[in-house]
Amino acid sequence: MNRWFAVSACDAVPPGHVAYTQLLGQELVLWRSAAGVLNAWENRCPHRGVRLTLGSCVGEELRCQYHAWRFASGSGQCTHIPSHPQQKPASTIRAQVFPLCEDGSFAWVNLTRDALPSPHPAASLDTALRSIFARAPVAAVRQVLLQGYGGHSVGLGDEFTLSVPDQKLQFMLQPVTEAQTIIHARLRGDLNAAERMTIFRHHNALLSVARDQAEAAA
């Protein structure tokens, strides 16, 4: 499917961190190099199939936990095979890379490997709210949100994007699997320090209710 999906708030993956997510059943390792480059790869080392999410970031490389093979940020190219340290790994040995772009607050991934970066504007004044994981299909989550959010009406942008215009709030749905969805949410504009935590808690509570309703319906 040639489509971009939000998969994480940008600051949920700080430099050096390796995170784990899934999109439409495709497992992803989401990791940010020391220099700040965010990568989304198929969660599987090409050597013996071990999940790369068990691995760790070493500078600009991701190191598999099993045999410590290292793969370069950006290209996914294998750069080092410790059992043969003097040899340069064949250029065919690489992790499978998925296109990814960041818009200032969220990271977007496309499962079509040659997709060009999406023209998402860098909306750097947005605030990412806490993402909520629901054990419910995306349709159930969409349905619950469309019925209203905290007394406000919700509009459908596209299948996976909804908004509460008078609250300057946008929801981005990540279909994890057929039965699981992550609700990402952003507020337009920056928040001042005094109101941040209150607003975070407010929306976390509302989204948790939406999650509970979607799970009950599923």
């Binding site: 949920a12 961190h17 760790s56 970031c57």
Partner: protein, 212 residues
């Protein structure tokens, strides 16, 4: 010299090994034939701990059972910095106590699921997994808000406490009991911070942080 009655694959024993290593307190480990020998249920061991459970420590005649209790003792007795169990801060001790209780819940859910899936122990596996997910969801939410408030640890802002060590093992071993941590990204970030505590050691099933 402290003697620790120990089993390599016990998350509760690991909590004690971890703090002993962080505090650089020397100890001697007595390897117990937990599986399949069930040495922890033998007559001689029941005299040390009538509950027949590990870990137990013997510190020059002081016998203690219960991993959480041992952490309280070791931190109180051997931590010169006072960070791991800040005895002068009643509110902090209360919060730590809260999370030590939470850690017991993790043992009873995620720990039990792991024992079922690995060592053939009979439990209501559906109930254990659901119980673990309920706790992990609460933990993830708590850690996310702590991060937003600039706090890097479970219930203390600047330094980790024994609450972090008490919750860490059975969280990190949850997948051995069929409990995925994909829904809990804040837990993953907290775990990385725990792994970088000076003196951190892993146990089988938990990998250390990269050398970077």
């Amino acid at each position: 010299m402290i003697t620790l009655y120990d089993y390599a694959l016990s998350g509760n024993c690991y909590k004690v090994r971890l703090l002993l290593n962080i505090l650089q307190v020397p100890f001697s480990a007595r390897a117990m034939d937990f599986h399949p020998g069930r040495e922890h249920k033998s007559d001689w061991f029941l005299k040390l701990n009538p509950l027949g459970q590990l870990p137990v420590i013997n510190d020059e005649g002081l016998l203690l059972r219960e991993a959480q209790a041992i952490l309280v003792y070791l931190a109180s007795r051997y931590d010169a910095s006072g960070h791991w169990y800040p005895r002068q801060d009643a509110a902090a001790l209360g919060r730590i106590g809260q999370w030590l209780g939470f850690a017991e819940g993790l043992t009873a859910t995620a720990g039990a699921a792991r024992r079922h899936d690995t060592l053939f122990v009979e439990v209501d596996i559906g109930k254990c997994r659901a119980g673990a997910h309920a706790l992990l969801r609460i933990l993830d939410e708590h850690l996310w808000f702590a991060e937003q408030a600039g706090e890097r640890w479970l219930c203390t802002a600047e330094w980790p406490s024994i609450a972090d060590l008490a919750c860490f093992p059975y969280v990190m071993l949850s997948e051995e009991g069929g409990i995925s941590r994909l829904p809990y990204p804040a837990i993953r970030r907290w775990a990385e911070r725990v792994k970088r505590v000076p003196g951190f050691i892993p146990m089988s099933g938990i990998f250390p942080a990269s050398a970077a």
